[in-house]
């Protein structure tokens, strides 16, 4: 039977753990609201942008060529995976899930005999994938100083990708990140960035037979639109990821706080029983001592 002192120490330590998890939960809840707002505020731009791209590509027609970012390099040997995770832990299976999705994707591509390169965004995913795929890493984007301002990072990464693509470093770029469905569900998804794909759910507008006029030319518009489309996709992925991280963190910490509470209850019960048993024992000793006199 564990001693009273030991039990007391354990209760104390679980209590301080609970305080930490509770604090982290509240911080996550507050941050979640902000992150969610930011993610939602950026949605109209992203959807409209997607619609515009969908319209333009539809009017360009299939196989009409167009800029390389849209048409691709004409090959698909070298795949680049951009794996987006969080900078911090303490958020349940959030990072592990994304890393797992990335691993599956890598294995699938390697089984097809493709060359895979990896760019990691966020420290945690890098740590998980390092063990297996360290030699595939070509770049890492550190978001630990980003706070809530992801725009420069998204633009930076977008420009980097465009440059690497133009230099022929890869043929296809895929982004793996956590889609923020709601507070309880975040699903890792893979989204093709280059060659650009117009989303399937984008509404194409019926022009009623009219012909689009472009100013300057269609090709020039696409030329300047596609890099922005790329940046927008990266930015919204970053925002969704940030919201997802906070949501996962909140849920994980809520569970941890509840578990700690249960543990404290059962330990306290054990402690009280032990204390009572000891008192009874002491009383019996005193009484039997007195009787012996």
């Amino acid at each position: 039977m564990s001693g009273l002192k030991e039990l007391k120490n354990r209760i104390g330590s679980v209590k301080s753990t609970q305080k930490i998890t509770k604090a982290k939960q509240m911080v996550a809840a507050a941050k979640l609201r902000r992150a969610q707002e930011a993610a939602e505020a950026s949605k109209p731009y992203a959807t409209r942008m997607a619609n515009v791209v969908a319209n333009l590509t539809a009017s360009m027609g299939e196989g009409a060529g167009g800029p390389k970012l849209l048409a691709g390099s004409g090959d698909d040997k070298v795949h680049l995976l951009v794996v987006m995770t969080a900078e911090r832990g303490l958020c349940g299976g959030f990072n592990a899930n994304t890393a797992k999705a990335a691993r599956l994707k890598i294995e699938e591509l390697q089984a097809e005999g493709k060359t895979v390169k990896i760019i990691t965004v966020g420290k945690k995913g890098r740590e998980v994938l390092k063990a297996q795929y360290a030699d595939l890493f070509i770049e890492h984007v550190d978001l630990s100083d980003a706070k809530d301002k992801f725009t420069p990072y998204a633009i930076g990464l977008g420009q980097d990708l465009t440059k690497r693509f133009e230099d022929g470093e890869f043929d296809v770029a895929t982004l793996v990140f956590s889609e923020f469905k709601n507070v309880l569900t975040q699903t890792p998804v893979a989204k093709q960035l280059i060659p650009a794909e117009a989303p399937e759910d984008a509404e194409t507008i019926d022009l009623g037979g009219a012909i689009y006029a472009y100013e300057p030319s269609e090709a020039e518009i696409l030329e300047s639109l596609l890099p922005r489309y790329l940046n927008t996709q990266i930015l919204s992925a970053m925002l969704e990821n940030a919201a997802g991280e906070q949501a996962a963190s909140m849920t994980a910490m809520d569970n941890a706080t509840r578990n700690a509470g249960e543990l404290i209850d059962s330990l306290t019960l054990q402690y009280n029983r032990a204390r009572q048993a000891q008192i009874t024992k002491e009383l019996i000793e005193i009484i039997s001592g007195a009787e012996a006199l």
Partner: protein, 135 residues
């Protein structure tokens, strides 16, 4: 009352305006253009400048956009701006302050710093924003 034009202006940060208006005048990269209801499908890139919204022949709102796209479809006009501000919500002083800061940063960066291009763009943007505010 005749039909109205559905106009929305969004920037990556948020949706600045969405609603029905009479007339929108926007700074296309090949020249300023106006859009009324039932305009033919049209798409253009934008340069830095002021988007004016008119109701009954009077300007009701002035929004400053930093580059972007305008897309006119039968459903209405959508402007995707890289950055946009409502001119009624900014003060000349705050813009002047930002401009001074950007200008100082540009001077500090020297001629061949890595940020020169971005800073020059920022200064040009703030300069035209300042000009838009004063008239």
């Amino acid at each position: 009352m005749a039909d109205k034009l559905h106009f929305s202006l969004v920037s990556p940060a948020r949706e600045l305006f969405s609603g029905e208006v009479d007339h929108v005048i926007a700074p296309g990269s090949d020249g300023e253009f106006g859009v009324l209801v039932n305009h033919a499908p049209f798409m253009t890139t934008l340069k830095n400048g002021v988007v004016r919204v008119e109701e009954n022949g009077e300007t009701t709102m002035r929004l400053f956009v930093r580059g972007g796209f305008a897309d006119v479809t039968p459903a209405g006009l959508t402007i995707l701006a890289e950055e946009a501000v409502n001119l009624d919500s900014v003060s000349a002083e705050s813009v002047q302050k930002e401009y001074d800061e950007a200008h100082r940063a540009l001077l500090a960066e020297g001629k061949d710093g890595p940020q020169v291009h971005a800073l020059e763009e920022q200064v040009a943007y703030l300069e035209s924003l300042k000009a838009a505010l004063t008239n």
